[in-house]
């Protein structure tokens, strides 16, 4: 019995504790995107044929499991050569501070910034830390976006035609007229996953940018402009008008985005507010769906309407890897025009390389064509206090269900804002 125990223990020690030598010609790449695994494997095969460098593509899904794996690997100092950080910017900053992420600024600047120029600037901004950033990270670019995303309006071509609408509406008045026409033939106007607060925030923010411009929004966040300002009332009124016109599908404020995607794919509504990832979703749910993408119809012409968007998925290079240069070379190759067009074709995501736009499907091109009009809270100079932001969005939900007026909501939000500002001043 004792002998057997010793033999088993010996086997454990011999097989378990032996460390494998590092292979210099193999780089490891960890990601979380199940639907892109095949395309990544294909690219890895092609890269090996061209360069002799093997890329080991490891998938850890869902994203929660991936995040756990990345945090645990960082603690154990066994991060792969290329990986993504799926968390808030402050976590990204803490990875940089701990020396786990390579500074890619010099690489992007090489050859007259050729690499940087090829990629959508908004996608790079998500991975950039600017001078004087609140995270106190050394200014620079630390990540590589391999695709981009943005959130727009979708319209169902067949349903619009049924209502006698020939062209997608461009202004808010045209949009309201389209809603009326759709109602006459018994078609629901608009669906969106506004049970998810961030999606409603996104739509409201589009109109805030259009009505008052970025400077005034930031001034509000700083506490210099009240929410009772006529421009903010105008933003709240967008929702009141849409409700009064009967634009929304029933239960829009409790709908999760996946259910709103089902509604649009199954032609239960003519318009939808959704992100570019929907191309993949609609393809699976209804391959025959005829739809197009358009910007939310603008109300004012003084300030441009800005939509949320930026990097879809970004990857960083392990600063402690002995194969750092090889990892950077692979990411450069993946973000080159040819590989980006291939990824867009195969995975139906928007390429991060703008030179690849000419060779991607029309609907993706519609989405990507307005990347220059994108913005995102992560790149704003200020963000709203979470308590105020929550009251603001829940207030909009109250307007949509007819529970409160825009003025009431504006007053309530401003009261919380003042309370929070007072707290801040005391600190």
């Amino acid at each position: 019995m004792k002998r057997l125990f010793c033999v088993v223990l010996g086997i454990f020690l011999l097989t378990g504790c032996a460390k494998k030598p590092e292979e210099q010609n193999t780089i490891t790449f960890w990601h979380w995107m199940t639907d892109r695994q095949k395309a990544f494997e294909e690219l890895a095969k092609k890269y090996e044929e061209q360069t002799g460098i093997k890329v080991k593509v490891d998938l850890y899904a869902p994203s929660d499991a991936y995040t756990q794996r990345i945090i645990a690997s960082a603690q154990a100092k066994v991060l792969p050569d290329i990986y993504g950080i799926l968390d808030k910017k402050e976590i990204f900053a803490s990875f940089i501070d701990s020396g786990f992420v390579a500074d890619l600024t010099a690489e992007f600047a090489k050859d007259n910034s050729e690499w940087e120029k090829a990629i959508f600037p908004k996608a790079i901004d998500v991975n950039r830390f600017t001078e004087g950033n609140i995270y106190k990270v050394k200014p620079g670019i630390y990540g590589v976006p391999i695709d981009v995303t943005n959130i727009q309006m979708l319209y169902n071509k067949k349903l619009l035609e049924k209502a006698g609408i020939k062209k997608a509406p461009k202004t808010f008045d045209e949009f309201l007229a389209a809603i009326e026409a759709l109602k006459r033939v018994g078609i629901t106007g608009m669906v969106s996953g506004w049970g998810e607060l961030w999606m409603l925030d996104c739509f409201a923010s589009n109109y805030a940018f259009n009505i008052m411009g970025e400077d005034k929004i930031m001034a509000t966040y700083r506490g210099e402009v009240p929410y009772t300002d006529p421009d903010w009332i105008k933003v709240f009124n967008v929702f009141k008008t849409l409700r009064e016109k009967g634009a929304f599908i029933d239960g829009i404020v409790t709908k999760l985005n996946k259910y709103s995607e089902q509604d649009f794919a199954l032609e239960r509504a003519a318009f939808s507010f959704n992100g570019s990832w929907c191309v993949n979703v609609y393809k699976d749910m209804n391959p025959n769906l005829q739809y197009g993408a358009m910007l939310p119809p603008a109300i004012e012409s003084t300030f441009p309407l800005k939509i949320w968007g930026g990097a879809g998925s970004s990857f960083v290079v392990n600063n402690n890897s002995s194969r750092k240069d090889k990892a950077i070379a692979f990411l450069k190759w993946v973000t080159a025009k040819e590989q980006q067009a291939y990824l867009a074709q195969e995975t139906k995501n928007l390429p991060s390389n703008r030179q690849a736009l000419s060779s991607i499907p029309e609907i993706l091109s519609d989405f990507a064509g307005v990347m220059d009009q994108t913005t995102h809270p992560t790149i704003w100079s200020h963000n709203e206090n979470p308590l105020v932001a929550e009251r603001y969005i829940k207030g909009i939900q109250s307007i949509i269900i007819g529970e409160k007026t825009p003025e009431q909501v504006a007053k309530e939000v401003q009261e919380i804002k003042e309370k929070e500002l007072k707290k801040l001043r005391k600190e």
């Binding site: 454990f12 097989t15 378990g16 504790c17 032996a18 460390k19 979380w32 995107m33 199940t34 639907d35 695994q37 490891d58 998938l59 850890y60 899904a61 869902p62 994203s63 929660d64 499991a65 991936y66 756990q68 794996r69 945090i71 645990a72 690997s73 603690q75 154990a76 066994v78 089902q262 794919a265 199954l266 990832w277 929907c278 993949n280 979703v281 393809k283 699976d284 749910m285 209804n286 391959p287």
Partner: protein
Amino acid sequence: MGINRYQVYKFFKLTFIQIFLMSVAVTCLFPLFWMVRSAFMTNDTIFTDKSFIPKIIQLGNFAQAWTDGNFGVYFLNSIIYTASVVTGIVIVSSLAAYAFSRLNFPGKNFFFYMFVAAMMIPLPGSFVPLFVLMNKLGLVNTRIGYILCMINVGLSLSIFLLKTFFDKMPADLEDAARIDGCGKLGIWWYVALPLAQPAIAVIVIFNSLNVWNEYILASLLLNDNSKMPLQKGLMVFQGAHSVDYPILMAGLTIAALPIILIYLVMQKHIIKGLSSGAIVG
């Protein structure tokens, strides 16, 4: 002859109990039925066909799930993991529970309560230290590393269940075995283990379920696809934003079959195990 009040009361009571139990059964079985029904549908019909039996039957989903999900390799891995982990848990937990129940040694209660306390720590809470430890031992991305961790996961509850069982075992049985020449290990093997069969059946089914359905720890500790369990195959059908529901449901049906089979085979012991106590010995 009139119907007496007691008979009326009994009739209504029984009817109420039957309706309640039937509704519980329907609640349990409906998700299974929905899974199997969806496994026979197509992507086009899954959101539109509301009929009880699908109008278009797609039998190919099962074959596609098996091949696309690489189920052959994952299925074998899951069988290896489930068999090894459950065997490990039964051996270690029965030895430990026997020791906690029948032997006297310093710190006996302290160590037992430590094991019980471990039940309160959720697995994800220990991921980071566990990964660091396994990495230091060189056991990351090894089958044995994953098996050892999973044995550890199942030990607390199993020791607790078996100790409760052994506590009720009559001392006379041990004395008789000792007279027949059995040592401590002999008593454990020849007396305690055979008597604990119902409790072991409960441990087997609980832990089989746990290991068969486990994925998060596997994705933390294992890198190679060739070592991943069956749940990994199911992830293939779930994209970040879209899900291939019919294939996923076919995959889930395949994955659920062995566990249903184990449950059917062992259900007699499980019921006995859960209601046991006074009948030991």
